[in-house]
Subunit: 191 residues, 2 copies
């Protein structure tokens, strides 16, 4: 069974026909690292489900500084939620960090599937709720924890990412400069 169907089946149960219908409305593609799937200023047309590889979404401030909103590894969904909902140009980039196989679900097909398989409303509601909870926690962490504590949390939450993505991107995710991150890391190692 595909990773995507497994993912859905964690929260709702689909009949074999529904599974086939769902899959028939998606497209699976492979992308090389460094591919930009969505550019800032574009309208986001798809939700992306990661079969393998790593993606990230980020924005760029004043044309200089990148800030990472999310990483997405195997079994995660990613997209520009704002742009996807509003169908207006967003300010996020979505980029492939590690060669990836991606299931793409277009906004239109998603709406079609909501109509055909109303249970999917439930599935995406739960998915969105979980994102919201994670996001709220990260926001509170950014308000109340030091960079060191945020790094510790990141390391515990995404142990595999630590090995796989350049550390300047982890710095960006936890909200510090690469230089400060480097200093902090060597301080932690010295302990």
């Amino acid at each position: 069974m595909s990773l995507l169907i497994q993912n859905i089946s964690k929260h709702i149960s689909l009949t074999p026909e529904e599974q086939l219908l769902f899959l028939s409305k998606t497209e699976t593609h492979t992308f090389k690292a460094k591919t930009i799937l969505l550019n800032s200023g574009q309208i986001c047309k798809h939700s992306y489900f990661v079969n393998s590889g790593i993606l990230r979404s980020f924005n760029i401030n004043d044309n200089i500084v990148e800030h990472i909103l999310t990483f997405a590894c195997e079994g995660w969904w990613i997209g520009d939620m704002y742009s996807l909902i509003s169908q207006k140009p967003g300010n996020l980039f979505i980029e492939v960090l590690e060669d990836a196989e991606i299931v793409m679900l277009s906004k239109e097909n998603q709406d079609f599937l909501y109509a055909e398989i109303p249970k999917l409303e439930r599935f995406f509601r739960i998915l969105t709720e979980n994102s919201l909870v994670a996001n709220q926690e990260r926001l509170m962490d950014n308000l109340s924890l030091s960079a060191e504590e945020r790094f510790e949390k990141f390391r515990r939450k995404y142990p595999t990412l630590l090995q796989k993505v350049p550390q300047k991107q982890i710095a960006s995710y936890i909200g510090v400069t690469p230089e400060f991150f480097s200093k902090m890391k060597s301080k932690l190692l010295r302990k």
Copy 2:
């Protein structure tokens, strides 16, 4: 028509019977300012819809510093999403800031209503999506904007709140100390 039904009707349409069923599963109460509706460490049993007044959700760090997650005014929903979903003890407080009339929807009744009126899955999906988008924007703002810029955004987004809640709570929301907020404010006024 009640504010709550208006709110729901923005996203889905309910028959009069469904409206009555929904309302029959809620309880409306009034609360005085300073009432704590939910304490840290408790399991959140209700979603709260604000008919009038102002509420806030916040956590307390190291028993000292408060950090505000959300304000909720007329027509807004509020709750501890983490605790509500998981039915585990959360770390948020929910407090009434200004005398309020609140519609309370228990977790059990919400689940009951999902079963009776599946359209509601859609409604709460959309509600959660909108929260997520707002939350993501706030997170990115916290990563990339200065305190002054965050305050400017807050002021534009919630002009009414500025008058109504103590400024130390706005400080807490944008993520600075009351002292720094005061300094910043007088600097902005001098311009």
